[in-house]
Symmetry: C2
Subunit: 457 residues, 2 copies
């Protein structure tokens, strides 16, 4: 059996930056490294071509009576710039203390190898393990997974026979506490451009006769929230579900302190609707956020201009049960209804992503039709984590979005068990990214125990 | 006597771009050209050193019983770029049709030479003309006149003995209609910066717990106007004077068409307070304008960020009787009072300029203490323009700001007679600037007639 630490070094040495065509060789190297490793474990490996970077589909088939788990991961990494901030070279794996440093160590090479190693050890110990396993490993995650949706639609029939998806591409608060991500927010993006006069105007010669596009957009933006911190669009909250007591209780167990969070953000005060904590707001409520606003003079000092145009970039985060297309339509109609006279508005819809939630078994809001295998996976996770980590996992929704998880649910009907392995100090997407090798060791044991339990009904 | 057209060519050949140190020789050449011309006319010429470009102070002294007029102008010009858009070289004067082309032909070399020529002819015809004349010609107008305020304060005692200032650095709507600019708006600039979190945040991980600085500033900006197009700051209009019927009547005589103006601006609708025309709004009402707004992601597509900071650049245009420092204080207190919790505001006051208004004699609101010489100047202007241009001049306020005119009033107590000589097609500050030689000819005759009338009580 291979040594996962040595394999992680090999994997990191392949500079697989998907967004930069200069790293074509590194992308191929990383793909071949993963494909080869899975082949050596006896998997049927198919390298599925896409418009850009192939997806690795590796299967361990078996009779339909065996449970079937899909393990997701990605072999591509973020760019490593700025390189001069790295203490050791980004693509030269280096161990310092109990950490392996290198681009992609945590996101996602270490966690992916955690599951590959678990499967490898399990199959070595029990070559006849009654479990179907499919690895589905993409190379475009850091680019927004453009080929992933088309892929799962093309392979729908083969993939939807699975019982659930197992992955590690989320975080935990510390080395002691496992968190299973039980929900992700969805996303709807749009941009609004307001155009007033034909060209920029002198604010002395013409100021006072026309609506300044900056003013028009500022007034429009100001209309989109209520003073108490809610989104001021009719129907925006209609599909938001009540939060269950067990979810609030999980959050309470997390024990995060508002004052610490406030200091971490560096703000004077939180801005949340009455009766909601910031930790609840970020997980359980949708948002409408201004990601960029621009118009007129942007340089030093002043320039007496009335700009011809101004723009605002908006994203809404959505929570479970909200539908991106519906929310986009609500936002667009509100903006159109409030469009100020005297400027022309252009609304450009952007990308979107489904929100996602999964409820572990035995909670008040667990769907009655939850797959028995998924329920067993959650129970096995509880048991494995409690034994290996010394305390039960927490099931928490997160504020971020991983659109592929909602897409998998929508296209394949499959839920995901997201086992967190990133620590806050792993520096994802930043210089000196690293992965904690103790977490990796516990992760391998946990994954192995969960998969083994699934195979024994 | 010199030929003004030949002299204008000589003047234009000196590339006197004040803002660009590469044109040091051109600046000196232009200064020496003007100084020499005035010396040849018998003036005592003093070249007053400043931190950058000297001011020419040329005097024709006389007994205190003689009226005393200061003629203002500037010998510096705007940069000529982009040079490739000029049909003939920018600093090679070229006559096409009845126009002299070249950088500075209109702004301000032609109009300045108009008055110099008028004075030269007048003194040649009547060497004993009982009129004190002071030329005050600066070289930094196109840079915002930084040395002009210190200069008039340093020479206050000598200058304040004048009766009024006579200049041509404003426009007329067409070759037939003389306009005397009777008012200019003042200016107050400030910048507001809102800072929220320590650094840009991921809008998924943290969206919904804090006030986005873009949202904070948008809401603040939206509070600064009423829906009917007025500035929503207590006391903002307190010192604005009622517009007199005679002023509305002058505007009516101008005969500008709203529909033409709307098309020129390229807007769907004007945005003015009820009962006010756009032509009135731009002249008689103060404004609060957003000249720039920036925050968050400015590039293509979307980026899911909550920015750490956002800024807005504001200028207010002020009308007669409003005091810049008072308006600045009102705006700052309104912003401070409305400062949203959860962001830190930094308000940076910028530059300011006094508004200005002068009322010709015999109007209902002419100040009772108006200098008799100024009143004679206006009456002489009426007579001269009516005779030479075939119709009486219009006395109109303008929306723009020429801060030195308010500064002259405040420091020296002197009003200005601003005789317009620019036509809309003169291309000021743009390629292919030119000056209409027929307007110059009429201007010389008009200036001469006015000055002659002043000398004959």
């Amino acid at each position: 059996m291979f040594d996962p630490v040595e394999k992680l070094k090999e994997f990191i040495r392949q500079p697989s930056v998907s967004a930069d065509s200069k790293f074509k060789d590194g992308m191929r190297g990383a793909q071949e490294f993963v494909s080869g490793l899975l082949r050596s474990m006896g998997f049927d490996v198919e390298v599925v071509k896409t418009d850009l970077h192939p997806i690795i589909l590796a299967q361990r088939p078996g009779p339909a009576s065996w449970p079937h788990v899909i393990i997701y991961g990605h072999y591509d990494v973020q760019p490593a710039d700025p390189l001069n901030l790295w203490e050791s070279p980004a693509f030269e794996p280096t161990i310092r203390g109990n950490r392996m440093y290198g681009r992609g160590a945590a996101d996602n090479k270490g966690p992916l190898l955690t599951h590959i190693t678990a499967v490898g050890q399990l199959l070595e110990e029990n070559p006849n393990l009654p479990l179907r396993i499919t690895f589905m490993i993409e190379g475009e995650e850091e680019m927004g997974s453009p080929s992933f949706g088309p892929f799962i639609r093309a392979y729908r029939e083969r993939l939807k026979s699975a019982d659930f998806v197992f992955l590690s591409d989320t975080g935990i608060p510390n080395e002691q506490q496992m968190v299973i991500t039980a929900g992700l927010r969805g996303l709807v993006a749009l941009e609004v451009e307001a155009t007033g006069p034909n060209s920029d105007l002198h604010s002395g010669l013409h100021g006072g006769v026309l609506l300044n596009p900056i003013q028009a957009l500022a007034e429009l933006c100001a209309s989109l929230h209520t003073p108490d911190g809610r989104v001021n669009i009719p129907g925006f909250y209609d599909d938001v579900l009540d939060v269950e007591p067990w979810e609030r209780e999980e959050l309470r167990k997390l024990g995060a302190k508002e004052e610490d969070y406030r200091k971490f953000l560096g703000i004077d005060a939180f801005h949340v609707p009455p009766g909601i904590t910031p930790f609840e707001a970020v997980r359980f409520l949708p948002t409408l956020e201004f990601n960029g606003f621009g118009g007129g003079y942007q340089g030093e000092g002043s320039k007496t201009v009335i700009p011809s145009r101004a723009f605002v970039k908006i994203t809404c985060r959505l929570v479970a049960n909200q539908v991106p297309d519906k929310i986009r339509a609500l936002v667009i109609s509100a903006i159109e209804a409030r469009a100020p006279k005297g400027v022309r508005l252009k609304i450009v819809p952007g990308h979107s992503g489904e929100p996602y939630v999964v409820v572990p078994p035995d909670r008040t809001n667990t769907p009655k039709d939850q797959s028995p295998v998924l329920a067993r996976a959650f129970r096995a996770t509880d048991a494995a984590v409690t034994e290996i980590w010394g305390r039960a996992p927490l099931y928490l929704r997160e504020g971020g979005s991983v659109p592929i998880i909602g897409e998998i649910k929508r296209v394949l009907g499959l839920d995901s068990v997201m086992m967190g392995l990133f620590l806050p100090q792993d520096n994802l997407h930043a210089p000196n990214e690293s992965f904690n090798l103790e977490v990796m060791k516990k992760g391998i044991a946990t994954s192995k125990r969960i998969l083994a339990a699934l195979a024994q009904p």
